[in-house]
Subunit: 406 residues, 4 copies
């Protein structure tokens, strides 16, 4: 259980922090400005491309991706880097080509894609030329139970035909999002975890209808391509677009979600740190009832509690990363669920306090806090709601004490 | 301490509920549709005017306003009506001409305005022809301490000249918002609570610059005229625009805030009831892990806790209304602070659970929950943050036990 | 919904407060002293008998009991009186002959007992000459589900024979506790709510074994006769000892629990008020870091939050009392559950803060706070744990939205 | 940041777990039995001496003490061992000679005592022959602010004369507690942190009056020598009894408190683990409403949340231990405060849930839960209340953002 950062990580942290200080933080207001001025509310903006070029030239690129296709870092190496990007979560992950959902999609393609998939989709994604989406959640069923998924993927000769409705498909409103990984059922009569398959659907396939952007507490997240509702209306793609074989969809989803969850948690810690910094700076600078707000006991209570929570979360995330590196994602299952349960809820709490300390400014567009809060809140729902993870984790805990079944 | 609804209240409740069922709830999707289609993101939409006409014809108009100018109800009579409007808070309060900030502004004009003010501004507000704004909060200071206000109101001959910057001026983005009640300092050297004055500033006065709409968690609240940042750049108005005399601003603000706070709390209870209803309906209709979500123990815990909280809040609001009616706003000071502390926080909690029970739908524009949540959250800040009210209430509690000073 | 105190209540409140000030509060240290000095750790002490005589002479006696046998007050009349006794819960309820479990037992006997039961047991209880116990909870099953009860009551000729094990039988360690009302099953094959019966078992019946006192967080509650573990080993009593007919036990229990729960909640509110008073007095009188602790923001937050919570609880308790008076206990079912859920939890929170404000003194025997806390905590378990009440209340809430079954 | 257990630690863990399984857990009921039967409610019982002999023979002795006098373990090595002892906190720490307050006292004597002190007091303490007490907290002032201490230590020739009143002096009721380390003021006019000194006072010195045992939520903790109120009435001891020089008392207290706090936190984690285990076992074995309680969603929520919290706490404690080992107690100041803030509060929460899951059994003497809870609750007060630590930690956090003072 050694969480010390090795020399490579330390070097990358320094390099990344320099990049943040020199380029990312100064670009935040420019980014906001360009977003406000663009014509298409779902498109990216020039500053992002500029920063991508700069990041790549500095060797800060695809850090999330282990193995030959990416930077080859371990989870433990990547964790402190992802945390740093979380301090500016609208910009930094994207410009390092480390933003969800592309990260998870690249992992899926790298692990489960064919050479042709690599060539056609993984390569331009790795190069940051296109974006991608992951289409799993459906509006018409409780998607927290993956067995409820109703989208159909039906074999028809050399093709598969896909029909169904998805929503909250992050990134899919961006016109540069070119490829969807779609989860659906190929065999509703198979055993529960072998009914699903995943298939690649290019955005421009006939029958793909990107209907509208879904909101998150008033935010469209248009800077990230939003969260689309997408209808697949008898969409026909070549059979070779299927990832692996029929029935492997659930397993691929599991493989994708482990790293996805920890990446979110790493970034959430950076978001919390940003929140604490802003809370301190603001309360030092504002005076009420005769003294700086920072001297109010209640505010100090918030700050202390926030620090104590973040320290605990970070260590649990690091342990989880270390476990994933050493015993594999399956062996780290309890820990991945633990950070998924603990991190969004605690970070939401911290950001709520930072908001309150800012008064009306806290809920405004002049500070990143309300947006960070909405992202944290969303993660109590996304990738499985807290309640489903708790239920599963509790059952595993209880199993320790159940009499053996023969 | 008699909270029973009298015959008049019961009759009004029935009439209002019929109006809600027949007109308001069915109009909600139309309203959303018209909002999406309008050109000016800050303007009102036709359905609102239609409903206003209908409401007025049914005698559901200006219910909030006691005395000759309004419906003449007591606070206790108005409370259950305001609660009902809170079930559809984007539409109902407005179409009954009972929406903040106009309500508070009409009260101020009715109580403290001159006959000329009545003629010029109160009359069209009572008729729902124009909107108004209340300009108090400033971006550059901690406005939770009213003594921090920096806007200057300087006498110059027969005029006053106003200079300062305000933000979160609700309603002010709406082009039909014609009159601002502005709080500023006429005498920074007077004793702390006699420094401020209030003055009427027509929107079209030279020097009034409505700069931009401020957001609340991603929401512009454009349907209510948003929350404007407004700069007053040497704005000159006739001296007769001053409300009462110089130095009376703090007292007027206090008089305005008591009813304002309880109206918000009444509506919040309706919002909570809407949330509980939606939470029940949704969890009954969705199935996960083999049974309706409503049968999950954790969900039942949320529902029970929500019901128990709402019942407590409602009673405290009713008691506060009754006290205001019987001993006056000053005598109900502790209770007004108590509901201001308890209601937004508890209702926020309830709405959070209703959101979680909806999955991604909960944070979306397809359900009113995320918007209701943002409104509740905002009220932990607006009209004095929780912490300021708690501090003040605690001091009064402690005073009971302090040795008498001679 | 009129909660105003009528003239009789106001007069009784004044009389009771005078009695508290003149006799009860001054007796608290004497009581502690006598408890420490007695030989039998389960017996009562002389000061209690003195105060009983005084209370009765002042007409402060059996206030809890409606109808001819008691003071004849309504629940709404009794509520503020019970609250006052809650300020000194170890002494005041007992000396007014208003202490659990005798109160519930007297109610049961008054409502369901035969004339002979009245003569033999109700009369001396009403006169405060003997004590009684209610034997329901069992150590070997989850008693939160009444259907689990395993004690057997078997008819044998003119007798019933009782066998089973009970615990947490409050008051039963006191040698002056002469009569047990025992809940058991007469017919395990009947439908679930007709299996149980209640029967009177005099303490001196052969086979009754009072084994030991059970603790509550280290407290024996020996001043109230403790909480006994009692074994009934083939205990034979005359058939006439059965209350009502066989199978009526569950209904009697329900009838007993409604008033019992609200009495606890009334007193809990007085306990909370005592806690707030002590918290204020202590923090005013102690200085740390250069100012009285009462001026610390965090402490003020506790005080304000406590006040706000108590006001809400009291109103909900009053409404429940009023409902029980006007529509009956059955009609007040949801409200009784609501106060049972809300009151112990909130009062526990308040007392925890009062303890913390006292430092080590808070957990000590020199202040009543830790004892009050344990009593409040126990009530999250006793008379049905929170979770069972929440589950039941939620189901009723959900029922409003379920499709009608035909 | 390497928290892996080294070979020595692993070996000791195995040895300790074997000892727990073979001797400690089986001794728990015997211990309770002997406690119930002893004459002196403050004395130790034979089983403890037996287990001490066994533990020592197994090399499980003085594990807490670094350096030559003890087992020489680092904090990181000791942490997992202390956690294991926390699973049986009434027995295990004592029988390993690792129980507070002796541990802290031995550390003080080892670090700051003279050779004569070592010979006279440290040696028998290390051998487990006598017990000791640490007399700091006073009943008459807010001891959370160490500057408030009023006990006087006055030089008079070759002696010091001590006068003052202390309470919650843990262990001091035990007749085998032979030596007190007393904190008092030698110079009330010195700068705040140089006013205090520490001095050794043998229990049998004339003027030492051990008055009574103080309770913790009804518990006397008589098995650990209780928590005494002690009056020092012109107690005269030789000047050589002073530790170090006059004015060094505050610094010695700080040196003592760091390890003391982390030891408590380590054990608290073991207490939490015991609570989780009991919660699981109980809810698996009890049935209500047709299924094992362990299948209730609310109970599973508690179990999951408990697991997630414990994992976070343990890591933060390990990091703190590692920091103390590598950069010293001063460098680990923030972390020591963090675990002192987080651990008792979280563990209290977990134990509360375990209690609730046990029904009445949870608050009884038949399960260790209520006692564990009281110990955890006490630690939110002892060694500095949460609020003082939070205030201090927040100030350090805020300092990062304060402008440099010149």
């Amino acid at each position: 259980m050694d969480f010390a950062f090795d020399a490579e990580t330390d070097e990358l942290r320094s390099r990344l922090e320099a990049f943040m200080d020199e380029h990312v933080y100064p670009a935040e207001p420019v980014f906001e400005q360009q977003l406000a001025e663009r014509d298409d509310p779902w498109s990216s903006v020039p500053i992002v491309e500029d920063l991508k070029t700069e990041a790549r030239s500095r060797g800060l690129w695809n850090l999330f991706l282990p193995g030959e296709h990416g930077a080859g870092l371990t989870n433990l190496q990547y964790a402190p880097l992802a945390e740093i990007t979380g301090r500016s979560p609208q910009l930094a992950p994207t410009v390092l080509n480390c933003a969800a959902p592309d990260t998870g999609n690249m992992e899926v393609l790298a692990m489960f894609g064919s050479p042709k998939h690599h060539e056609q989709w993984l390569r331009p994604l790795l190069d940051g030329e296109i974006r991608s989406a992951f289409a799993m959640t459906e509006p018409d069923v409780a998607s927290s139970d993956a067995r409820n998924i109703e989208t159909k993927i039906v074999r028809d000769g050399d093709s598969y035909v896909i029909s169904g409705r998805k929503w909250y498909i992050s990134g899919a409103m961006n016109p540069n999002c070119r490829i969807f990984i779609v989860m659906g059922k190929t065999d509703p009569d198979a055993e529960p975890h072998r009914q699903q398959s995943m298939i690649l659907v290019p955005r421009d396939t006939p029958g793909v209808q990107v209907k509208r952007g879904m909101n998150v507490f008033g935010y469209t997240d248009g800077d990230h391509g939003g969260h689309a509702e997408v209808v697949f209306d008898d969409v026909r793609v070549p059979a070779e677009n299927l990832l692996q074989e029929e029935g492997s969809g659930f397993a691929i989803a599991q493989a994708r979600l482990g790293p996805g969850r920890i990446h979110h948690c790493m970034r959430l810690i950076g978001m919390a740190e940003r929140g604490i910094e802003l809370m301190c700076r603001r309360t030092i600078s504002r005076t009420a009832f005769g003294k700086p707000i920072a001297q109010q006991g209640v505010v100090q209570d918030w700050i202390a509690e926030s620090r104590v929570r973040v320290e605990q979360l970070r260590l649990l995330v690091l342990k989880t990363a270390w476990l994933m590196d050493t015993v594999g994602n399956q062996g780290a299952h309890t820990e991945i669920q633990s950070i998924k349960i603990a991190t969004p809820a605690s970070v939401e709490w911290i950001l709520d306090k930072a908001i309150q300390a800012h008064g009306a400014g806290g809920v405004s567009q002049d500070f990143p806090l309300a947006g960070l809060w909405a992202a944290a809140r969303m993660l109590r729902l996304a990738d499985g709601p807290d309640e489903v993870h708790k239920r599963s984790l509790a059952r595993r805990e209880l199993k320790k004490y159940l009499p053996e079944r023969k």
